[in-house]
């Protein structure tokens, strides 16, 4: 994340820059935790839903319904924390939007419409369980993952443009003219970033959901419900893990080619050279020395260009004001290394799972496997944060790579107001996320109580009116005694 120390070097930095960055970093770091679920939970739920309908599997349907109940709350929190980010473009970075809005803003236009579709479809899906025909309900949900992918397309188009801006020429006054939208959307970093991001979202959601049931299994709940709740999301994630490894490797090489200074920061390369060693962790100092860490000779050059003789651009090749500071570089480097480490460990976990499936046609039974699986969800969320830190801090001091500094884009609002706002936002977000977590845990408790107390036979004999896909029952549960109206003018209306 953007840290205090990171800004020290930027002597000309206006005082409001630090709180503005902290506010952006905090709100984005919070929102991004919900994004994997917003993008991929509908897909995983639909898989389970399909299984339930196809095989008439009551347990699978129960899981899908419960995930829908979770999704309802999670999606709402995601919507509002996402709306804040749109506001922050104006509240914090008006300079960027004022100058570049018409160049790269269109991606957000696509995102807004994708999001519209997603919100409509998710509302139909979440609220359709009770009254719609089972397969109609399922098929209305099927476009959801596609709208999520389209939404991600818009966001990543904008972010990759900030990393490799193009699709315009500058006039004498330095303002962009001759905007070419197609070039501005499909920038060099777009492809690598998009696939790396979307796969990360599905992967993270898979491991996180599976992790919940891994914990259940560790606590001795080995019924079919937990087994199914674990297997479906974990299989999705396990299949994607090696794919993500390849994609991650490819995006690193794209950064090497398209954003050499960012690459230098992620690998703490100080001097442009061949035969560059790879540091695993370690700390870069402002004089270019590296302390700590594990040094592997030649490896960085080999990773970047498959040959020890590959020339890697160093941080010192550009003036200090045009590159991340040593502290920023260290942060980027650590974020990158943590991400890669966790990714590699997840590969081993996925192989373990694949091995057991191949040999025994069964999930692993080792407790250690479930301990690792339980941790994998949280670990994945850590990698999401790390990936985001790598791309954002690695771009510093630029907000639009090599075209606009973060300090040029920041609002003129006084630092005091921004600090106050940051304090308010931190309090509000902590309260909301704590309440969100509390609500989820409470849901889990209620479900557990019901599952423990009710034998399967008793559960399936719920009152008919309350059975999903059942006939229409009382509409407003507490409307007891309210007489039905005469009916002829009781009518449909619009939005409410």
């Amino acid at each position: 994340m953007h840290t205090t120390a990171a800004l020290m070097a930027d002597a000309a930095a206006p005082p409001q820059l630090l709180p503005a960055r902290q506010l952006m970093a905090f709100t984005l770091a919070s929102h991004i935790l919900l994004v994997p679920f917003g993008v991929a939970l509908p897909f995983i739920t639909l898989l389970m839903h399909h299984r339930g309908l196809r095989r008439g599997d009551e347990v699978a349907l129960r899981l899908a319904r419960r995930w829908s109940a979770v999704m309802a709350v999670q999606f709402a929190i995601g919507v509002v924390t996402g709306t804040v980010l749109s506001f922050e473009f104006g509240l914090l970075w008006p300079g960027m939007m004022g100058r570049w809005g018409d160049v790269f803003g269109l991606g957000f236009g696509i995102e807004a419409w994708a999001f519209f579709l997603e919100a409509v479809l998710i509302a139909i899906y979440l609220y359709g369980w009770r009254r719609l025909k089972p397969w109609t309900h399922f098929w209305l949900g099927v476009p959801l993952p596609l709208t999520a992918l389209l939404g991600a397309f818009g966001i990543i188009a904008a972010n990759s443009w900030m990393n490799t801006p193009q699709g315009f020429t500058l006039d004498a006054a330095g303002r962009p003219v001759d905007v070419n939208v197609r070039q501005a959307v499909f920038t060099p970093m777009f492809g690598p970033e998009y696939w790396h991001f979307t796969v990360a979202m599905f992967l993270t959601a898979g491991y996180a959901v599976a992790g919940v049931y891994a914990v259940g299994r560790l606590r001795g709940r080995r019924d079919r419900y937990h087994r199914l709740g674990f297997t479906v999301p974990f299989t999705v994630a396990a299949i994607l893990t090696p794919i993500q490894f390849v994609l991650g490797d490819s995006i690193a090489r794209s950064v090497f080619h398209k954003q050499p200074i960012k690459f230098a920061a992620t690998e703490i390369v100080w001097k442009t050279d061949t035969h560059v060693p790879e540091y695993i962790f370690g700390r870069l100092h402002s004089d270019g020395t590296v302390s700590g860490g594990l040094k592997i000779p030649q490896l960085d050059s080999i990773l970047a260009g498959f040959r020890p003789s590959t020339r890697v651009t160093g941080l010192s090749s550009v003036p200090p004001e045009n590159r991340p500071t040593a502290t920023q570089a260290t942060i980027v480097h650590w974020a990158f290394d943590i991400m890669v480490t966790i990714g590699s460990l997840l590969i081993l976990l996925a192989l373990w799972y694949a091995w057991c499936w191949w040999r025994h046609r069964d999930v692993p039974c080792s407790r250690w496997f479930y301990r690792c699986a339980a941790a994998s969800g949280v670990a994945c969320l850590v990698t999401v944060e790390c990936g985001w830190i790598t791309t954002e801090v690695g771009r510093q001091p630029w907000i639009v790579y090599q075209h606009m500094r973060v300090s040029e884009a920041v609002t003129a609002t006084r630092a005091g107001s921004l600090w106050t706002m940051l304090a308010i936002v931190v309090v509000v977000y902590v309260a909301i996320f704590a309440a969100f977590l509390a609500v989820l845990l409470k849901m889990r408790t209620r479900w557990r109580i019901a599952d423990a107390s009710a034998s399967p036979a008793a559960v399936s004999q719920a009152p008919e009116a309350d059975t999903p896909y059942g006939p229409r029952g009382e509409r407003l549960p507490t409307a007891a005694g309210a007489a039905p109206g005469e009916g002829n003018d009781r009518t449909p209306g619009g939005a409410s």
Binding site: F87, A123, T411, F436, A454, G493, A495
Partner: protein, 346 residues
């Protein structure tokens, strides 16, 4: 081309005012519904009515912002520079409103429901006020390119009137809409309850408009003249006719069209404001043509809008159709087979 995009922007603002406004209005009546016992049924209705659609309605706001920064980057920069505080507070209000509403539903303890409900209802009052005040600041010409944030930009007579009008309009829309919802959910005792409130809100709107006329006369000269002459006046009068038609329908207890006339009155008002501001996006310093972004982008924005209308239109119609025909209902504890945890009160 900039003109077209400007109208897309006005259309998006109108859509948000109608759709989002109804939700804010529901929150407003949630706030005034009284204690836990007395307010239980209206709140249940509000939950029931808003649940499936409020997130969709909220997307209009995002679309407003996107059209603003893509189509009129200078306008976006100027507005957020000058109106920093009201917009920041509106953003915080948006978060609290959505989170409070979403968290109240699964909460099963009275104390928790109270807290989440209070957060939802209070921020439903605050958010439209600040958004309205921001519009007032723009309409009164207090925002220009380069204006720095100051209290004057939003704490002025026009802004206060606009903020209060936004709250009252939301309350009006919300009550009219809940009135129809009460009918279709078979909660007939609440029909009269919200009918009364709709009429009170309309009364408040009329009073505010009458106060606003002299107050804004010199304060927001350009827009005032636009609203009291030509097409602007025509639209204002049609809005008034729609509003009074709503009142007449409510008084005659016929609810088939009341929701639509109420929506029409708000949408027509927004369009009247759009006409009154012409040719400016920021009266009287920045015209639509001056604020417009790159021509190539505007073309693409039109394409995006058209594609969207083709895609989103049917989806929205489907959602509202399903919602108003009782096809959409939230999952109950019985559906997810949830038990009662210790301490649950409902």
């Amino acid at each position: 081309m900039p003109e077209v995009i400007a109208w897309v922007l006005v259309l998006a603002v109108a859509a948000y005012a109608c759709a989002g406004g109804t939700d804010y209005g529901a929150g407003f009546w949630d706030l005034l519904a009284g204690g836990a016992e007395r307010g239980e049924r209206p709140r249940r209705l509000i939950d029931h009515a808003m649940g499936p659609v409020w997130e969709v309605n909220n997307v209009w706001l995002i679309f407003v912002l996107v059209v603003m920064w893509t189509g009129f980057p200078t306008l976006f920069q100027a507005v957020f520079g000058a109106l920093w505080l009201p917009l920041a507070l509106a953003a915080v209000g948006l978060v609290l409103r959505g989170a409070g509403f979403a968290l109240r539903k699964p909460a099963r303890r009275l104390a928790q429901r109270r807290v989440y409900g209070a957060v939802f209802a209070l921020s439903s009052l605050v958010t439209p006020f600040f958004l309205g005040a921001a519009l007032g600041g723009i309409a009164s010409g207090r925002v220009a390119v380069g204006t720095t944030a100051s209290a004057d930009a939003w704490a002025n007579p026009t802004s206060v009137i606009a903020g209060l009008l936004a709250v009252a309009a939301a309350a009006f829309l919300g009550a009219v809409s809940l009135c129809s919802d009460a009918r279709r959910f078979g909660a007939d005792d609440l029909v009269g309850y919200f009918r009364r409130r709709a009429l009170i809100a309309l009364g408040a709107l009329v009073v505010l408009a009458l106060i606003g006329l002299p107050v804004t006369h010199s304060d927001a000269r350009h827009v005032w003249e636009g609203l009291t002459g030509g097409i602007g006046l025509l639209l204002v009068l049609s809005a008034a006719v729609s509003a009074f038609a709503t009142a007449a329908l409510l008084l005659r207890r016929t609810y088939r069209w009341s929701r639509w006339t109420a929506v029409a009155s708000v949408a027509l008002t927004v369009f009247a404001w759009g006409f009154a501001q012409r040719p400016y996006v920021l009266p009287t310093s920045l015209t639509v043509a001056e604020a417009a972004g790159a021509p190539h982008t505007l073309w693409w924005l039109v394409i995006v809008t058209v594609v969207a209308i083709v895609l989103i239109g049917p989806a929205l119609v489907l959602l509202y159709w399903m919602d108003t025909h009782g096809e959409l209902e939230s999952l109950t504890d019985a559906d997810t087979q949830a038990g009662r945890a210790p301490g649950d009160t409902q």
